[in-house]
Amino acid sequence: MSYLARLEAESMHIIREAVAQAENPVMLYSVGKDSTVILHLARKAFFPAPLPFPLLHVDTTWKFKEMIKFRDVVATDPDLRLIVHINPECVRLNINPFDHGSSMHTDLWKTEGLKQALDEGAFDLAFGGARRDEEKSRAKERIFSFRTSKHVWDPKNQRPELWNIYNARHAAGESIRVFPLSNWTELDVWQYLLAEDIPVVPLYFAKPRPVVMRQGMQIMVDDDRMKLLPGEVVETKMVRFRTLGCYPLTGAVESEATDLSMILAEMFTSRSSERQGRMIDHDQAGSMEKKKVEGYF
């Protein structure tokens, strides 16, 4: 078997094993490439049956417009059930990345929003798209990651995970997060999307887009909520995104890659990691680990 085929088979095994042990599973769907791959793998895992769980999108209202459009097209599949959760508290307080900063914005919209949605749905198992190559604390997280009833991850007290035997047992109120792409790299994800001919959000492909240079990142002006600071100029540049989040917090890269094989060709020569374009990873030391402990994916 080729290594992509082995990764695919391992992920299918993980997804099936998780569902078989869960009472009420759900799949986190963030519209990005990793979510897209997991959704595809889950369809394969349960074929010919439909997906035995709903998708959950924790919407921050600050996602790129094209992401929402893509999400809504995916949701037209009659075999899929999509739950969209918007943290009402954030709506009430008008939490946004400009006034409240990336850290508070992410914490309230995403982490708190996610916890609300998981509690409301009484989900005892949630799939996420995190990969171990993304970030150092993720490299040490289990594929089946136990969470307390408060959704807390305890990195120093993880369950040993051996062979391909996964323990998803938990008491009422506790839950398990499952990461079927743990052993995939960014390159694997792109290669798989290409090999399997899976559509992704067009934001991943280069196109002339209006961007502003802010804090060393190319931020796309996706709507009129983004106010220019003194000295900032909107320029139209040929850019694409390697990773997708809230648009004011996600940096674009200049690129000529307009399809998957061109993205791969760029990647083979790339010298920077994908999460460099994520402001939330860098806002404090060990920041991803801290977010994960608090319940972020």
């Binding site: 078997m1 080729s2 290594y3 992509l4 085929a5 082995r6 695919e8 088979a9 391992e10 299918m12 095994h13 099936r16 094993e17 569902v19 078989a20 369809r43 394969k44 074929f47 010919p48 049956a49 171990r132 190559d133 150092k136 604390s137 993720r138 490299a139 040490k140 990195p155 120093k156 993880q158 369950r159 040993p160 995970e161 051996l162 062979w163 391909n164 035997i165 323990n167 047992r169 938990h170 008491a171 743990s182 052993n183 390159l187 290669q191 290409l194 090999a195 399997e196 001919d197 094989s261 791969l264 060709a265 083979f268 010298r271 920077s272 990691s273 460099q276 030391a285 060990g286 680990e289």
Partner: protein, 632 residues
């Protein structure tokens, strides 16, 4: 997977196609930071361009703050991912790293090497097909080298690279290299490795690791990375016997029934006969249900959905196997057990054993000995603590399909899960089946429980009273016996204090002894039930797991658990036997409620509050509930 969708003649496509056709090797690197383990992994990642510029910049920044290499980049910081690890400068947990060369993709398990991290090394080795054992050329084969080699051998790894590192610090001396190699070979004779390669490397410069070296003209062998690129990947042995543990049964509609699973070994084709274990029923493969279209065969490692010819009873956890070379079926096995939890293993306690997708209750009925992982010697032991390895006999409540681990790393491996905390507490490898079901035949008695109950005109069952010392269990037990006796019901009381004077006089109050105490009493109670008696057991029985074990031994339908609930303050104040005072004075170690916990029963058949209700009221409640549940 599908075959590639690329246009053929474009150079990018050809490159991508080559990427996609690579296979995958998982390996573990054993050694400590002192041996240069992190430098080695860092070097492999760096030379295969897996470290990006922003990570390198962040690394340079961290190296100045926490690093141990002065101005130079400290690769250890790249692999120590958790805040606590970076602050304390130690590796706590196993991490996985990813890189690829032109020939192969790799997943590296990076596990800390100290003795107290055996758990993590075992975890990393469980999925590895090759191990790199690092030796510091200045130090030679050390105790930890032996420990690491023993563990990878135990986990069934056959391909070993012994990387003799820091060869530059011994002036690239062939003599030293040869001496260390010889020393290692002598030690490894007792192990089961199939291929051992020795490579003189310098992890810092990459010599003989990723780059050739001009300093070792006497070494004509391949670089370490070249060995890793060519070592045989074991899962591809298609001549192995077919095995697949059923993950779940797919029934999207009444016309379709498919059995999902990952093929553990061998290959399977449409038309092949298979056997279902443990039931032993046989059928044929009718078809595959596959997202990517029709197919006629599948091989080890693939996740499939099988459609079978006959509608036979197959459920999650059943093991499908070839009929030519079928799996074993057993409820009693001898195993290597690695203990992974802080709480010691308790023989006789009921754990959940998970093998493939099968979960079954099991207990360790004999710990034969512990293995000293530094010397490979057998040490007598009554329990296993964190990181201990032992040889045990394990019994499961129902038979399971399995193979010895040395024949099949997938169907011979299992974990033990604590039934109360749900934590994974042990990892096991099956050595062989003891086939108890064939060895010990139960004596066929012609007069059975049914006959005795008919003659006695009553049903046998157990009333199990649990609660703190001084909660009133014995008083209630005696009063209950008197009341039943007056109704001409035959009874017997097993009281904690009395049994400890006789049957269990050899047992103390450690957790292990308490478990054995309960097991014996439960077995005795079961005999009384078989004799047709109403058996009243009055035991503190502080642990949920032991009460569950007692219920299991006696049988759920014959077991009535009463929680005699009295608050600690009340019983301590009452202190009828003066025991709490003694325990507080430190004269009675492991006394329940003082320095040993009492786990409140989560689901007793009945709870009586002996501090609030009178003895007569408690009795009324018990009898009423026994009548309602048709015990009386």
């Amino acid at each position: 997977m599908r075959s590639s969708n690329l246009p053929p003649n474009n150079p990018v496509s050809q490159f991508i196609k080559a990427q996609q056709e690579k296979d995958l090797l998982r390996f573990i690197v054993c050694g400590s930071v002192d041996d240069g383990k992190s430098s080695m992994i860092g070097r492999l990642l760096y030379d295969s361009k897996q470290i990006f510029d922003d990570q390198l910049a962040s690394l340079a920044n961290d190296s100045l703050q926490h690093g141990t290499q002065g101005e130079a980049i400290d690769f250890a910081l790249l692999t120590d991912g958790l805040q606590a690890e970076r602050e304390q400068g130690i590796t706590i947990d196993v991490a996985y790293r990813f890189f690829a060369t032109d020939k192969r993709a790799f997943i590296v398990a990076d596990a800390p090497g100290h003795e107290q991290y055996t758990r993590n090394m075992v975890t990393g080795a469980s999925t590895a097909e090759m191990a790199v054992v690092l030796i510091d050329a200045r130090k030679g084969v050390l105790t930890q080298t032996r420990r690491h080699s023993l563990l990878v051998d135990l986990l069934g790894i056959k391909n070993i690279i012994v990387a003799i590192n820091k060869i530059d610090l011994i002036d690239y001396s062939q003599e030293v290299f040869d001496a260390i190699s010889q020393q290692y070979l002598e030690f490894a004779e007792t192990l089961h490795f199939e291929n051992i390669h020795f490579v003189p490397i310098c992890a810092l410069t990459g010599e003989n690791l990723t780059l050739p070296s001009t300093n070792t003209p006497w070494y004509a062998g391949p670089r370490l990375i070249e060995i890793a690129e060519t070592v045989a990947v074991g899962t591809q042995d298609l001549s192995a016997a077919f095995r697949m543990s059923v993950q779940s049964v797919s029934r999207p509609n009444s016309d379709f029934r498919g059995y999902m699973g990952t093929i553990a070994s061998g290959a399977i084709n449409v038309g092949d006969l298979i056997r279902v274990n443990p039931s032993g029923m046989e059928t044929r493969v009718k078809a595959f249900a596959d997202f990517d279209g029709p197919r006629h065969s599948a091989i080890a490692g693939e996740s499939v959905c099988l459609v079978l010819e006959d509608e036979i009873d197959i459920s999650r956890g059943d093991l499908l196997s070839s009929i030519v070379d079928p799996a074993l079926v057993s409820d009693h096995v001898e195993v290597h057990l690695v203990w992974l939890a802080e709480e010691a293993m308790i023989p006789q306690r009921s754990y959940l054993l998970k093998i493939g997708s099968k979960e079954v209750r099991a207990h360790i009925d004999r710990l034969k000995y512990r293995i000293d992982i530094n010397s490979n010697e057998h040490v007598s032991a009554v329990t296993l603590g964190l990181n201990d390895i032992g040889i045990c006999n394990i019994s499961t409540v129902t038979p399971i399909g399995l193979d010895p681990y040395d024949l099949n790393r997938s169907t011979g491996a299992f974990v033990l899960i604590d039934r109360i905390t749900n934590r994974t507490v042990g990892a096991g490898m099956i050595r062989h089946s003891l086939r108890r079901s064939e060895n010990v035949q139960w004596q066929e008695l012609t007069v059975g429980r049914e006959q005795r109950e008919l003659m006695n005109e009553q049903k046998g069952f157990v009333v199990w009273l649990t609660g703190l010392s001084g909660s009133g269990k014995s008083t209630i037990a005696n009063a209950l016996e008197v009341m039943l006796h007056q109704r001409k019901i035959r009874t017997f009381v097993l009281d904690g204090d009395n049994v400890r004077h006789g049957l269990n006089a050899d047992l103390g109050f450690t957790e292990t002894d308490r478990a054995e105490n309960i097991r014996r009493v439960a077995e005795v109670a079961k005999l009384f039930v078989d004799a047709g008696m109403v058996t009243i057991v009055s035991f503190i029985s502080p642990f949920e797991a032991e009460r569950a074990l007692a219920r299991e031994i006696v049988g759920d339908s014959d077991f009535f658990e009463v929680f005699v609930d009295a608050p600690m303050v009340v019983v301590e104040k009452r202190d009828t036997k003066g025991l709490y005072a003694k325990a507080r004075a430190g004269l009675l170690p492991n006394f329940t409620g003082v320095d040993s916990p009492y786990e409140i029963p989560t689901n007793p058949n009945l709870r009586v509050e002996s501090s609030v209700s009178s003895v007569v009221e408690c009795l009324d409640q018990i009898v009423a509930e026994l009548v309602r549940k048709s015990f009386l």
